[in-house]
């Protein structure tokens, strides 16, 4: 078996002709000067590595951790980081480069064919292993002591049950959570971050406000999560009433002020790239583009549905309020959305 494979390797190699190419000695093999030069180059690389290692220690001591220097191409950067990285990089690279240079120039340069040994065991070895296994099985009493065998099997069969029980923690089912936001009739529309209520006159034509419901800070305090914000964020923009070509319901905007969900209907990124000249709202994640002058319809990109519009009105104090929750679930599609 082993002699067969060896023969095969030899004939195969011969058939490809690679052995026929005469061995060409390297310059360092024939020229003593070239060999000396290669020796010097290798040792120089190792010495550079040694010096860089010392340089690393020096740089660690020499540069305070907060010193900023300006390096060409990189710009202002941390001196300590820069020199520590440079020194360690050079030290490691030169050891590797020296070793490879050494191997390529000076170490033995003779092609050798390594014969493969057969992978399978010999029939004798296989039989011996089988015998050993049977001997062990008899000695353990797995067959002769059925009580032990059955109780072990029972234990092993029951063991996966905890994993199945833990699946319950994937629930409870979301219920109506994905369909509701905290917008409700009469909830004021306030600017994000500073929570200022908004009068109609506060938004000039071409203006935009990132807005949230007035009760958002309380809800966030209460729940300790950002879930309410993730669903309720809206973009309020103003255009000339004559520029609004269509909207989801004719009386959902006030005097050109119109509010749409800020959550992309594709995969739920917050959208804010509003171009006031074209009234297009561009999602930064996958470039879905919605036309806020035309019902929030998709004009480009992977989103499949229009942005939900928030019906707004002005309350008796002159501030913008919602007239209820969104008419449809905001954000990306989900299985039961329908």
């Amino acid at each position: 078996m082993s002699t067969d494979s060896k023969d095969l390797a030899t004939t195969d190699g011969g058939a490809h002709g690679s052995v026929d190419i005469p061995h060409k000695p390297r310059r360092a093999d024939t020229d003593i000067k070239a060999a000396r030069r290669a020796e010097r180059q290798v040792s120089a690389l190792f010495l550079i590595s040694a010096l860089s290692t010392i340089g690393f220690v020096v740089a660690y001591v020499a540069f305070p951790s907060d010193e900023i220097i300006t390096v060409p191409v990189i710009g202002p950067t941390n001196a300590s980081n820069f020199f520590l990285g440079l020194a360690l990089g050079v030290a490691l690279f030169c050891i590797g480069a020296g070793a490879i240079h050494w191997a390529k120039k000076l170490m033995p340069d003779v092609e050798e064919v390594g014969a493969r040994t057969p992978i399978g065991a010999t029939p004798d070895e296989t039989a011996a292993a089988a015998e050993l296994f049977e001997e062990g099985a008899d000695a353990s009493g797995f067959v002769s002591r059925p009580i032990i065998r059955r109780s072990l099997l029972t234990a092993l069969v029951l063991l996966p049950i905890p994993a199945v029980v833990l699946l319950r923690d994937l629930g409870p089912l979301p219920g109506t959570k994905l369909r509701e936001t905290i917008w409700a009739d009469g909830v004021r529309v306030v600017s994000d971050v500073s929570y200022l209520p908004i009068r109609l006159s506060d938004i000039p034509v071409g203006g935009m406000v990132s807005a949230v419901p007035e009760n958002l800070p309380e809800v966030e305090e209460e729940t300790g999560t950002l879930n309410a914000r993730a669903k309720a964020a809206v973009i309020v923009v103003r255009m000339l009433p004559s520029e609004i070509r269509s909207q989801q319901n004719d009386d959902w905007s006030v005097d050109g002020v119109i509010a749409y969900s800020k959550i992309c209907t594709h995969v739920g990124c917050p959208i804010g790239l509003y171009e006031q000249q074209t009234h297009h709202l561009l999602c930064p994640c996958h470039q879905s583009t919605f036309d806020l002058a035309d019902s929030g319809n998709v004009v480009f990109g992977p989103a499949a549905r229009q942005l939900p519009q928030l019906a707004i009105a002005v309350d008796e104090d002159g501030y913008l309020v919602a007239r209820g929750d969104f008419a449809e679930p905001v954000g990306p599609s989900f299985w039961e959305r329908g």
Binding site: I74, N78, L196, G207, M208, I271, H280, L282, Q287, T289
Partner: protein, 246 residues
């Protein structure tokens, strides 16, 4: 909020433009701007005059003129999707006095936002943390988290803001140049605008402890550099290891 409203309303009156300044501005306007914006700043539509249509300027205010001309966006070099910023401040076709004159002329046509005063631009005492929060909520989607700018649709882009003059940042929020929406004085208060300017200016001066900033646009740019430069270097070394020595 009350102060913000007062400032916005008092602003047009505060720019005490003289009649001679307005007249000088009108002359400059007629020479440099009227071919696109119309002889009376009423605007020219593409249907009337191909390739030189410009929006009407009545009511855009002095701030819009100071921003557009002061950043070199106007006079527009060529029609296109974007009005790019022109040469650096100080190398513009108009000096500040001429810009002020044109601004006074445009302001005299109809009420609009005035050029912010030095007091409005004093951001020393502004709230840096609030500025950061407001920037991330209102600006970062287009101008990037570090103010380095980003792409919009159809060849338009949001320019980097880190090197902009505070007055131009303020005016941009006030007037909504080109694609940018307006951020009114009562939805982002004057002191909040100062906080945003302070955040931008502070960010611009931050060093890069990790070395190359790569536009500070985060993992995408860093990933591309690692894949192309880093793996390229590894491939080159692998080839060197494999090449037979001579």
């Amino acid at each position: 909020m009350a102060t913000g409203a007062a400032q916005a309303e008092a602003a047009p009156a505060a720019s005490a433009a003289t009649a001679t300044q307005i007249e000088e501005g009108r002359q400059l306007y007629l020479e440099g701007c009227s071919s696109c914006h119309g002889l009376n700043a009423e605007g020219v539509s593409a249907a009337d005059k191909e390739n030189s249509n410009g929006p009407g300027l009545i009511g855009v205010g002095a701030a819009a003129v100071d921003f557009q001309v002061g950043t070199g966006r106007m006079p527009l070099a060529a029609p296109g999707p974007q009005a790019p910023a022109g040469p650096k401040y100080g190398e513009l076709p108009y000096d500040q006095e001429q810009i002020n004159a044109m601004a006074a002329y445009v302001a005299s046509l109809g009420p609009g936002p005035a050029i912010p005063t030095a007091e409005m631009l004093d951001y020393e005492d502004a709230d840096l943390a609030q500025g950061g929060e407001l920037f991330r909520a209102n600006c970062s989607q287009c101008h990037n988290f570090a103010g380095k700018g980003g792409a919009l649709t159809n060849g338009k882009y949001a320019p980097p803001v880190v090197n902009s003059e505070p007055v131009h940042i303020y005016e941009a929020m006030l007037t909504g140049p080109q694609s940018m929406p307006v951020f009114g004085e009562r939805t982002i208060l004057p002191e909040q605008k100062q906080a945003i300017i302070k955040f931008i200016k502070t960010t611009a001066e931050e060093p890069n402890p990790g070395g190359l900033a790569l536009g500070r646009i985060g993992p995408v740019a860093e990933g591309i550099v690692v894949w192309i430069v880093g793996l390229g270097a590894l491939a080159a070394v692998a080839v060197w290891i494999g090449v037979k020595s001579k």
